[in-house]
Symmetry: C2
DNA sequence: CATAAAACATGACTAAAGTCATTATTAGCT
DNA sequence: AGCTAATAATGACTTTAGTCATGTTTTATG
């Protein structure tokens, strides 16, 4: 590891410490470099911007949750229906959002994602594990004759994850009135059932 | 109209002019007050922040579109099915987003909404006309025996508008790869049909 | 119309992100 | 080791949002 890499590491860890104590907005770049014993310019050698650092911090955070989601699904009884799996997965993700990540960090995720120059692929990249996890549940549902759709599975998976993101965004902008868990459940019920009269 | 109100008007209009020439980020508060021939402090008497001014500007923009949506629906042949109405409405909204408002302004809307202190009720308030418009189409669908759902209409309407917002957000963060119009169409097909095997 | 209170306006100031020309350190090479 | 090029670090500086104590104008009132 070159000198530069370890300096970056120091900055990142120093910042991470501060982020656990205070809101992102309350931690200044000056705070970080002072605590790290470095100059401000050094910060900008390793991070494009303060938001870019926060994005790395959040990516790191979000990265691990998909592993949790997978584990959660694997822990379900083998005869669970695909519908129940999907709803259980939705319940799990909303739990994590509410209890582990928190609405404040999620708001930042959604804000930073709108800044085109900052890379948040860990969250939105289609290679994110979550897309595959959802696709697997959908495949299972089709294999079991439980689901029936003309839309290809990976397309469907993208739409489901998008719906989850839409729900989470709505939660962020309507917090605390919006009950994410309940709304997500209802929304996926609608998504699964549709509203068209069955012929 | 008191003196204050007209000063606010001047600031707003000056800013609006500049916003048509340049990105929000490129227009500074100093630019605005200089062009308006006022002091910086004056700006902050009338606007809580630069973002608050932008929010007012965007609200004004977004406000009118719902009237367009209503007009669009009214222009459809009277025997149009509710399904077609809904899909046509979705098509219309995506047209407006893409061609009239633009992804850049929408990104700002979504960013500002995440700033809890700024009021964007014209966009997200449940009294927004769009919620009623969607509810009306849904009622029609139920009256015609076309739709069938246990979920109350106004709840359903909120979920549909949320889906639309989710799609638009996704468009913003994936622009220009994400084809909003096509994706919205597919998404609402899924939402209408569901994916459960019909019994 | 004199005057006090309220409303409006000012601009120098602070805070914080981000820049960049300069300086210091490290690594590779003979 | 001595020299050079690349890499790393510096901090004074710029930019821009936002503040606030002070000053000016308007309005209401005896």
């Amino acid at each position: 590891m070159g000198k530069g890499e370890s300096t970056k590491q120091i900055l990142f860890e120093t910042a991470a410490e501060l982020f656990l104590q205070k809101d992102f907005n309350k931690v200044t770049v000056d705070n970080i470099v002072e605590k790290a014993g470095l100059a401000k310019g050094t910060f900008y050698i390793y991070f494009e911007s303060k938001d870019a650092l926060i994005a790395e911090f959040l990516n790191y955070y979000v990265n691990n949750v998909d592993t949790d989601y997978k584990a959660h699904l694997d822990s379900l009884p083998p005869k669970t229906t695909a519908t129940d799996m999907l709803l259980s997965l939705v319940g799990k993700t909303t739990d994590v959002l509410i209890n582990t990540i928190g609405y404040h960090k999620m708001s930042f995720v959604y804000k930073v994602q709108l800044t085109r120059t900052i890379n948040m692929d860990a969250v939105k990249g289609y290679n994110r594990k979550l897309y595959q996890i959802v696709a697997d549940v959908l495949s299972r549902g089709i294999a079991l004759g439980e689901f029936n759709t003309k839309v290809p599975i990976d397309t469907l998976s993208k739409h489901f994850v998008m719906a989850l993101r839409g729900l989470s965004y709505e939660w962020c902008i309507r917090y605390p009135e919006f009950d994410l868990k309940e709304q997500a459940h209802t929304h996926f019920q609608i998504l699964l059932n549709g509203i068209l009269e069955k012929k």
